[in-house]
Symmetry: C2
Subunit: 411 residues, 2 copies
């Protein structure tokens, strides 16, 4: 018999307990083990819940029960989650977490602690909610050298951008609707400014390339400045504006992780990922490209991922080396965003195609002139950040303003 | 040091060897083991290949080398693959295969043999080529009760249907193009008649529901009768005709596996899976729905999946119980196709909406009348097979012929 414990009885934690109890027989049959939910740690009482008798308020009870072999951390935030998780690992108890902030900021330390104690620190639920992505990356695709990962990793911003495109709402109205529906928090900063997506691309980058990428190393731009007008005009040109979290391996073997709104071509499946769904596109030298799609958040989807981790941890007798990375003590392996290169969607105050072609080399044949005598177009060639800045300055000198610019996703 | 062996040096087998050698350092670092490609079994000689010195013609050499712990079977077909794989497992050597015919027809026996010998029989590459789907199903989603799986599991038929829709080719022309491009074989029966997709849905059904589903138990209809006209008319109504391999869990807890061309609504991501790509949609009570997308075949994509299996097998000391199923000795758990229920797309020789509404209860508001005075429409209500037959008969009595019918996919 294996005893499990859950830290935090909020949305995800209670989901883990409930989904486990619902499918206990099925799970036990599949994994060939007898399992029991031993403890749920929370400072609150839940007297009406069927699992009320399993609630404890002191982490020591879990740490000191040698029968508990696997613990789920569903508290969120860095502290006290970090201290609790580290203690569990030091006691040889494997941990599964849904806490992306914890993994992005402390993953290297916790993975090292797990290794030293011959147990595991898993985090399938921390990226893409229910979507299997962590295990596919380090197990199924272990024979691949990765060249790029690009994803829609934040459901809130995807819902907002989607409403702008399909329901003609401006950003503020769409955000208010997301808040009303419970998809966005009262303080939507972490989602809207891209911090949440940033943590997730840090985790995917660290796993794919083996070195811890901290959020501070990632160029991150949110969606607050996205105008309704551009979502519509972009659509007319055959693109959807999406908040894309992405990491590329460059020719110099450095990686470039970024989070920013990008224009995604309609024939790219990521352009069809709508509402609160998430998706991750992975490129590797063996697979070519593959995509993973599903619910990025929610009680049972996230619980499903946490339980998948817990049940594998129950069966493992030692640390899985491929599901880990190191802290290399520097950021030399990360390229500066100045090396970021892409074709661009532009909206400018001039409709003078000749002038614009002169500045951007060549612009794509399809352009749109708006009622306000603005011109919308996509460049034919990729620009790096310096070329971009130079072009914007040159236009400014000629009295032409760039009103909006979005890099085109290549994925 | 772990010694590997590959059976069959065809497209996939040589891909396994080449991708392994290319990324050997990366793979070893990730999995923490030293690995060596020991033998490649083939009756042919390949004197110009860098791995020529590893070729052997006798399986006994591999079976009798105790250093070989993991074997890839990339020969295809049931024999001698079955005999060789069974022998490897009996010698305690784990096997990874890309051979869907072998898994669909002999999976139960080989999984049992692996279990008895404390090793593993893995087959990630047998469904969806490079797409991680087997491991996500039994590991990441282990806490889910599955309600449905629906996929585009055959790239050849998807390429043909896609060409019919986008390039106005009829079936024969599109098939000829697929053959020219090497996507379809000279004898395209296995693909075009749905046998290949059938084997794959057998494997997914067996894994998801724990009981071996044999190809003979699956209602299988191919795409030979799909007319260009219907692909275009369906598109106008907002659907794409796709060859869908699917299994549903019905209310009576029986499963219903089917392979047939279906009309997929445009807002379903499966409708956007084009060319030779594959995709699998999975529904479970925890995750809601998730989709997996990627290359369904090809040398390195398939090799990537085989290597993922081999490298996990190297690290395992016993059989993984969740990655298995049993032969229950009967088909009582499989529902008859007569219970299949769906809304339908119809094309009929009458444009008399009143008459058709009378027969089908109600038909969707959007209908198309063709130049030939045919009517195309989608029923408002789902019909089971008996209701379908009755409706077709009733129409026949009134002199109206049903020229085409496609069930609408709910996924």
């Amino acid at each position: 018999m294996e005893k499990l414990a859950v830290l935090g009885c909020g949305v995800v934690g209670s989901g883990v307990v409930e989904l486990f109890e619902k499918n206990k027989n099925l799970i036990e049959k599949r994994c060939g083990k007898t399992l029991e939910m031993g403890y749920i740690l929370d400072l609150r009482d839940f007297p009406d819940k069927p699992y009320a008798n399993k609630l404890v308020k002191n982490i020591e009870i879990i740490l000191n029960d040698p029968e508990v072999t696997v613990v789920a951390e569903c508290m969120g935030g860095v502290e006290p989650a970090f201290t609790f998780v580290k203690s569990c690992l030091e006691h040889g108890k494997s941990v599964a977490t849904s806490n992306k902030e914890l993994v992005a900021s402390k993953g290297d330390i916790l993975l090292q602690t797990a290794k030293e104690n011959h147990c595991n620190f898993f985090f399938e639920a921390s990226v893409g909610g229910a979507i299997p992505i962590i295990r596919p990356l380090h197990k199924c695709l272990i024979a691949n050298e990765f060249s790029a990962i690009a994803g829609i990793l934040n459901g809130t911003t995807n819902f907002i951008l989607n409403k702008m495109i399909t329901a003609d709402m401006d950003f503020a109205t769409a955000l208010a609707l997301a808040q009303e529906k419970g998809y966005a928090e009262k303080d939507p900063t972490a989602d809207v400014e891209g911090h949440d997506a940033c943590r997730k691309i840090c985790i995917l980058s660290s796993l794919a390339f083996g070195k811890h990428v901290y959020p501070e190393s990632v160029y991150t731009k949110g969606i607050r400045e996205v105008e309704l007008k551009d979502t519509k005009l972009c659509e007319k040109l055959g693109y959807a504006i999406k908040l894309i979290a992405r990491v590329q391996m460059l020719d110099n073997h450095k990686i470039l992780p970024t989070v920013m709104p990008m224009a995604v071509e309609n024939d790219n499946l990521l352009s069809d990922v709508n509402g609160v769904y998430n998706a991750v596109m992975v490129r590797g030298d063996g697979i070519g490209k593959a995509m993973f799609y599903g619910r990025g958040a929610g009680k049972f989807p996230t619980a499903s991922a946490v339980l998948g981790d817990m049940i594998e941890e129950v069966q493992l007798s030692d640390t899985i080396p491929a599901q880990t990375w190191e802290n290399v003590g520097n950021t030399d392996f990360i390229e500066d965003v100045s090396k970021f290169t892409a074709k661009y969607y532009f909206r400018t105050t001039s409709a003078d195609v000749n002038l614009l072609s002169e500045v951007f080399g060549e612009i794509a044949s399809q352009t749109i002139s708006t009622d306000e005598e603005e011109l919308v177009f996509v460049t034919e060639h990729a620009l790096n950040r310096m070329e971009l800045e130079t072009a914007v300055k040159t236009l400014a000198q000629k009295g032409v303003q760039v009103l909006a610019q979005y890099p085109i996703l290549v994925a």
